[in-house]
Point group: C2
Chain length 203, copies 2
Amino acid sequence: MGVRQAQKQQSRRALLDAGLHLLEHQNLSGLGVREVTRAAGMSPAGFYRHFRDLAELGVVLVEESLASLHGLIRGALAEQGEAAELIDRTVELIAGHVREHRAYVRFLARERHGGVQPVRAAIAAELARFADEVAEALGAQSESAGWSAADVRMLAELYVDHMVATAVAFLDADGPATEERIAGTARTQLRLISVGRRHWRDV
Amino acid sequence: MGVRQAQKQQSRRALLDAGLHLLEHQNLSGLGVREVTRAAGMSPAGFYRHFRDLAELGVVLVEESLASLHGLIRGALAEQGEAAELIDRTVELIAGHVREHRAYVRFLARERHGGVQPVRAAIAAELARFADEVAEALGAQSESAGWSAADVRMLAELYVDHMVATAVAFLDADGPATEERIAGTARTQLRLISVGRRHWRDV
DNA sequence: TCATTCAGTAAACAACTGTTTGCTGACTCG
DNA sequence: CGAGTCAGCAAACAGTTGTTTACTGAATGA
């Protein structure tokens, strides 16, 4: 890639970073083009060399956010071991992810039901793909013998929803103490679901 | 109440209604004072006779939203009967509530993690109070014998989170078919949790 | 009845906003 | 080298914004 392209990419990155930073305390629908370019050290007109809209910038941020989340899910599904310790590790994985990608997670939580339709649609589509992935992994496990595809799918959705809810809860933790309380709650809830799963066919 | 006060209340209502209506397709942080007064048929300056801020208006909307949700929870907890049919009725209750209070539910979903801190805090506080209420009701049930207070509390949080997630899912339903699919998923998930609850102490 | 209160107004304020325009100057490539 | 590309800029556009000001006129209550 030439110097020209590299410089352009750098500016684009600056815009995305400035946007992500501003969105930590603000909604996408309340963000302004001038605000972003100012924070990125660029003139307002420059923005349009990279994005048509702020919505377009938002969609790119969604893709980046969910790419990182994707890694998290892959990691959690790849784990092996006893159910209890698997749960512990999953929750710790989520906590770590939130610590490292705080801005992305906050952005996702804020815009998942936010006022910008294309962004909302992008998030919903990606989360649905995650549920597919989790469903596939669950279906391959021995505990799912005798489960219908629909039931596996709803279990996957329950897990994804719970993961998102837990991540969002971690966001608002104001110290290690509350963080541990949230982790404890999440673990117990996962354990409850796991018990339900084990006795699913005894009804 | 005198004619004077009644007229003032009416204007206030008009502002709240206009705000709620505009917030169906928009974020609170993207809303403008002028926009609201225009929709309410009032001059911009009139707004300040009723609210200091748009955030203040938002907090009032939160209180109204959660007052209606409160009725829903009371209703669900008061239900009696077999677990399976109880679940069916609860999910139907949620679906009905979303149909009747669509704008309020959308507003809650949007601002729960939105960019306006006081509104976010108000929602979080009210949801925590709901969890308290649910926890109390659960603790009084015979199925909770031998459960620690902390475990009952986490179960209550799981139920509240799930209720909110289900309500939000209903919002995006684009027809009776998807609505029924969402209801089905919610029912199965609740059934799974209920199975887990029944076998909680067998671990 | 008549002074007082006060919800709502119109007008003005300075400070923004998104977007387009023509331009410049550094990179690209034949 | 020299023509062409194109990222970023300054300036201008016509609107919009939140908030304050002094005001009006209907409801109030002695």
